[in-house]
Symmetry: D3
Subunit: 312 residues, 6 copies
């Protein structure tokens, strides 16, 4: 018995040796290994999580931390959060450049650091504007949900506010040309809320997504003011043009334009560069690939006979 | 070069000063600042997470912690969990009152504390009943999913059991009139499972949601016994009546009634105060806004021609 | 006042006594208590989380940890991860056997341990193959999403890669006959991404799910190479045959076969053992319960009149 | 075999029952149970640790945290630390009053809270003075130790600076009449450095203890400016007067007075209300119970023959 | 420049390879490698820390955790702590046996487990007795220190109570014949308080060590009731008899016997199997290697001329 | 009442404003502020703690972590630890240079990084030698303490081994010319064990300190092979020469030389550049400032009359 066992043990370890050898051959790792040449360190999820949490504490004072903040202590607390965000974000932006940028550029380390510092600074300057937008989103959440008891409840526990906060942060960074980081911040909210908003989308004030799970908003969407979506709504692309070599052409406008005051109910998919006009109301579970004029109410065809009921 | 750099640094910090000043002006913070007057401290997500984890340990002994609990040690372990839940919950209920209640009431601190203590005590008394219900939900999960190997597997890793456990806890608190806290507990499950059940909904025993992502159950739903749902099902409201001033009327019955033994397949949306009769089977991807008589099987219209296939 | 308060306190505690007594009666706990007889300890979520994180670090070197790993240090770092995975996994597999297995088998502890050790070893040997598959999934993600900037971005932040990594790990364990553990690993990804892939499904190389929230892939699915899905796609079972005693027959093939190069757009449900032929393109929001020949493009019927627009 | 084992198990648990019963009898717990009547919650070691760490960050900016603090961000960072210290300290002072105070006083909760708030505020106002003193202690450490490379090294890693920082904080609180808390803060440093300074002692500027392990400074010591001690020095009491009932009389002056510029070498014990005059130098391993005039150098008697050497 | 750098990098890694090879040769590791054959896992410091903390919570209810414990909830809370201690301790005792025991005995795993279970059970049964002793130690601390304000203060922050609690736990385990574990528990207190009491020493009730840093109590000491020590006291051995092969004879009585009511002041060393009679008072900084009759007061010789004062 | 309270609140906050202003004035912070110019970031205690823990795991395999390490997995585990130590240590050495070095040198960042990398590499190469020395220390501990049961017990729980391990690491770094870091590593052991060994001291193999609390070994000590010390031993300097400006001359030899096989008992102080000859045995509580010839046994003078006993 003992012999068998020792045998087993040594066999195990030969397995490890063999597997390690195989994994360290270049044909195994070449596609999946992040070569850390030139100090191109990966962005840190922990740092980005801290950045977003501190920003949330700044945007909605006394809700998520510092819950006894007085008006008198507010400047110190917000200032300390912002100062820390500035330092963390500078580093993460630099890593994003390193991750995405070309090798030659990255070489110029000082220049790269300077650029990261500048971008962080510009983002910081935009925080008051981001808060103004979010304040309108909070009002929209409260007014749009009959189950909402107060704006405070919306701030504290609505997934829409969480996802839209991450989006508005990520969008600002995206608009500044920050690489990689906005996408990660958006995915953090996607994972927690099931709401997937690409940082490139442009969304006006008073935006609200009720329930939200499964809602997807594509990279080139343009959404007006006071728009309300429900869970499972897709604002996507209908086809992906390819270039001469058969590769996807990246970055061209291919998602819907949704104008002011539009409502889109749950489960509806709208694809392509179509325009949903002002005040339109789009019913649920629809599949739309063409424009909707302003003011229209769109419902599933043949409402009189949508389903068949079969008695047992 | 050095001068530029110092310049950059000081510019940065002027940015911080300027941003802090702006964020501390009342027109910036008025809508988004939780004024901590009168000690109205925000509920604590950490405490609520601990409460739910301890309750899960009490409801399903030896599954999620205390994995070597014997029958003899059970009273001590459950008793210690419950005693801690009682203290934590009393505090959180008090904060919920402070958050939601009017100012004058909150003033009467002792009265408020007494009320929180009473509500927690009533909740504690309901734990055995909640466990009885959950035991039926576990059986329903095991019997309803061909992939399930044992009831233990359902308890340990089915999102349905996780979401329904949070719901049954939150519903009990909601029924007792606890403010704010039930909603947070429901959102915790929503974030983890993608299942969004409003604490106000009433759901009978043997309830099961397979897969579950994207399923939404509204505030005034009434769901009977042995109901089974799939992912992406919405039981929602069709329209929101407004009062004379154009504001949403809150709290009136506006979601479906689903009677015993009904099955609703994935992606279907049922809206409004309609009644789905006993034993009805509702197909997937449907849009329903009217009653379904008992025993009916409902499928998408024109089954013979649901899609068009186009050869290339 | 004081008397009332003391009264209240003692009443509270009688509540705890009463509730504990009730919860410790066998009719209360019998369905929900994991009896730890014979040392059948529950699997550990923490250990499984560590296993998956270490495997992710091995599969995608320098992306998720060890971010400055050089080629020279790679063998040590991967070897240490794998050695730890081997030990942790052996223990968890043993617990899975204990949880699921019959009592007599479990008794033979040494045999059970030996079996766990063997299974872990076989899994370790499969890691290079898993990495080869995942490398093709990464390429598919990059090529399939116009918003993707690099394969690195896909590895680092796409929910599809996260979910498919967990799936490929879980599937390997499932194919080896490991109990319980694969399901838990799959649920971990489901909770984080909203993508629910049963470990039993068989999925070919170059697999990609865009956005992914709400997508469900059933236990007996067979998916070919270069298949692309979108969010909210269900590949499910249409009915569950019952045996003579009215119980579900478990494990028989009941989910779709999806052949190479198929694309299925968001919100579509395909049910039953149907076959979707090579190169087929299935539109969104569809409900399909029959075969689709190779090369077909399937869209919603009556594209000319899918919705009704009502002017106000 | 199995029967024996089950027997063993049940015997175990009877042990637990029996032990719990015994421990819950009043004759067992009466001397060692902290009755939590009237909300007299114990002080929190975690909160006190955080308070001391934040104060250390304020007193020595950029040494122990915030290591990239610029002059421009300094006010925010220090302000945020101080604001948090103020809130934490108010709570801990209140608990100290509850712990030590008489029952009637504690009853008047509002008054007690008001008092705690006032004491915390007074402590905050003293921080600049505490820093001024510590700056002189840092210089003394640097100048007094030939192994010291810079004042920064002394701040960052000398046990003397750690212990004296805790002492100066604790002494300020003690002088304000704060109960219990100063003693705990002093013990925290004692545990880490082996230096035991009672918060009641009065110590002038430029104070330094080299190595420090085992040095004890009693409650009523008075120590002048520029005093230097070594490890194992005791400044203690020689006898404890008892009152008519044979109980120790607490609080009367009973420890040495050490005047300016005195040096006391390692292992020396000085007991009672003696006076060590200015500029005196006290050798090591001495036992002193009487005054030493200013300027004296005190060494062990019979220096010519202190030890006997015995050849083997 | 670049070449040099790459060169440097590869040289580094050759260093690692070379060092690893050297460290993995048997002549390097043979004396310092804990061979984990036969599952002889090392004791866990984390588990032992948890055991001691839970015991402290049981011995002094509501002081160190559970700070709002009522009489009614006491049985649950203490019971849960004890149940957990029982399980953790059984495992650690087993590891102690494995660490110290001979190979053949350890082989009989079941027997070893049974023995560990029995020892843990016997320890549990002794907890009430340990608490009775500690209650007398608390009174001694309060009565013996003029600076003590209450027994609660002594329980909460005196190093003597912390060290003696660990000692009384460790001594009980030592007396039961538990291997290795008692020593670790004693060292935990030594590290935190500077008080080093060997678990083998026998110490009567009402024991107190003031300040305590540097006090050492040897393995075969016997200390009576109401003994009080100060910092820096050594109760040690004077010489170590060797056996025929020149090896130390281990375990024979070689430390002092200290009878009831003795006081020993700071810095005094007493060596060998001497007897300090009842009520004796031993001065500080002494070196004693012979018996002291009961009732004697011992001071340093030549009190009239202990030191020489040299004027400058 | 309310007015008073608000008044109190605003007064509080004026306190904070005032204190912050004062602390941010240059005359307040100039001596205690670590100016982070030129990115001279402080060393990290967390990183240094990790470095020492990983080294301990390398030096004593399977004792402190990786407790199931087999011979086959040893290279991976040790290699991964060493690789991580190399990276962490390079960074900390760099910070040490920044902290201590002159401004101009630090400027040349690349050169500084290169130097840190080289120093770390040299330290790594010395690990096998450090282990060889520590293996002799372990044997000395086992042979020198009659209470020791095995070398394993000494490795796992003797403060001497902990302190000497830190010392041998710190000494190697000190000998390489690393700034600041060695001192911090030495202080970490000092805080945990009460043993204070300056990294500059030179200590031969087979070194053991029993109990150890309060033992101090100065910067320029030279200690031979097989030396044994006890608690409270000081090997210090007798006087500090000053230069022409009255400042201490730093770094000259001023501590004792202790030759092979010397034993020094507890509480003894030896000061100055004296030489304690081979095989000498120095008794306890002595004060020595002159040479001791080889082979001598030194005891306190007048052994026949060391103390006076006074009958009551």
């Amino acid at each position: 018995m003992k012999d068998d066992r020792e045998n087993a043990v040594s066999r195990t370890d030969r397995t490890i040796h063999k597997v390690v050898d195989e994994l360290c051959r270049s044909d195994s790792y070449e596609l999946v290994y992040h070569r850390p040449t030139e100090e191109k360190v990966m962005p840190s999820l922990d740092a980005l999580t801290e950045i977003v949490e501190r920003l949330r504490s700044v945007l909605f004072p006394a809700y998520f931390s510092d819950s006894e903040m007085s008006l008198e202590s507010m400047p110190y607390i917000l200032g300390a959060h912002i100062e820390k965000v500035d330092r963390l974000l500078t580093e993460q932006i630099k890593r994003g450049i390193g991750f995405s940028g070309d090798k030659e550029y990255w070489r110029a380390t000082l220049e790269c650091e300077e650029r990261a510092r500048n971008l962080s600074r510009k983002f910081i300057a935009a925080i008051p504007r981001i808060r103004r937008l979010l304040a309108t989103d909070v009002v929209a959440a409260y007014e749009g949900d009959p189950a909402a008891k107060s704006t405070g409840e919306a701030i504290f526990c609505y997934p829409s506010i969480k996802a839209v906060t991450n989006y508005r942060i990520a969008h600002e960074l995206h608009a500044l040309g920050v690489e990689m980081i906005p996408r990660i911040i958006a995915e953090m909210a996607h994972s927690q809320t099931g709401i997937d908003i690409h940082p490139g989308a442009r969304i006006g004030e008073r935006f609200f997504i009720d329930h939200g799970t499964g809602t997807v908003i594509g990279e080139t969407c343009e959404i007006g003011r006071s728009v309300r979506l429900y869970q499972g709504v897709t604002l996507g692309a209908v086809s992906f043009p390819k270039d001469g070599e058969g590769k996807l052409v990246k970055g061209i406008p291919r998602h819907p334009i949704v104008e002011d005051n539009v409502i889109i109910y749950s489960g509806t998919t709208i694809l392509g560069r179509v325009r949903i006009g002002k005040n339109a109301v789009i019913g649920g579970n629809l599949w739309l690939t063409s424009d909707v004029p302003a003011g229209m109410r769109v419902v599933q065809g043949r409402q009189t006979d949508p389903v068949i009921m079969i008695s047992p």
